[in-house]
Symmetry: C2
DNA sequence: ATACGTGCAAAGTTTTTGCATCCCA
DNA sequence: TGGGATGCAAAAACTTTGCACGTAT
């Protein structure tokens, strides 16, 4: 029922490893959700479900909660109202076109160790950055 | 019914002005929503509604859509699943404690003109940054 | 055996839509 | 007065919960 093919990326393997390390079972349904997340960025619940045939929507929600609660995945709001999910390991940020809604990514984080001084009383774990504007196509 | 008191901040006035400039009517309900937004940051729909007695929830949703669609307000996801709204003019970023959920802000944006080179084909309009970690109280 | 996980169905929330009424430019 | 705006009720969409059955250790 759940054919698990080979050739996953790093994110998939490390995420599965961490799930086990945390004491959770790596069930076929969970593997399917993680594989779905590993195979594309910023996916909505719909898109994740479409990549997990045979897995109930309730299990998908519970797995996403589990992953987000463990810090292995994160939920994003990219402006269209739908929550989107990504594996946490994959650090990058988003460019969102306000005209056509296209989402692209960029890898080189402009923050690095540049986080605010005011945050001195705050132990930074991770951050999230989204840049909005107009993509090449929409600028015309 | 809608008592509009004086003494608003800049955000309130400029937002109302822009609403009019865009050709929309500045109705009492819209003013109430804008006033609510101007009086606190990152508020949920519930909180906004509580500050707008007498305004129907449908109107609140429609006004938030109008404001976000016009770029006068923005929706945020600060990790707790509830959408939150803020006036766009007020540029700042958030620190979110992963333990207690407390949200604080910081004003000095570490990005400024530091936005990515890859974005050269992208006309930046604004950005959003959220920093997650542990607040002073939760670090112990 | 036992505790964890899944799925169905139902309940709960949140958000959107249809439509009649209201009201300001 | 005429089109924009509001509000109610209903519908739709989204998410969570209860519970019985499965399934790995």
């Amino acid at each position: 029922m759940f054919s698990i093919r080979g050739g996953f990326g790093l994110s998939f393997r490390t995420t599965v490893g961490k799930i086990r390390g945390l004491g959770y079972r790596a069930t076929p349904q969970r593997l399917a959700v993680i594989e779905a997340l590993a195979s594309g960025r910023h996916q909505s619940v719909d898109e994740i479900q479409a990549r997990c045939p045979g897995v109930g929507i309730v299990t998908i929600y519970r797995t996403l909660d589990l992953l987000c609660g463990s810090g292995l995945a994160r939920r994003l709001d990219l402006g269209d109202g739908k929550p989107r999910y990504e594996l946490a390991e994959d650090h990058h940020h988003h460019l969102i076109c306000q005209s056509c809604g296209a989402i692209s990514e960029f890898e080189d984080c402009p923050l690095e160790e540049r986080l605010p001084r005011e945050a001195s009383d705050f132990e930074v774990s991770f951050h999230r950055l989204e840049v909005y504007g107009l993509c090449g196509g929409c600028r015309g």
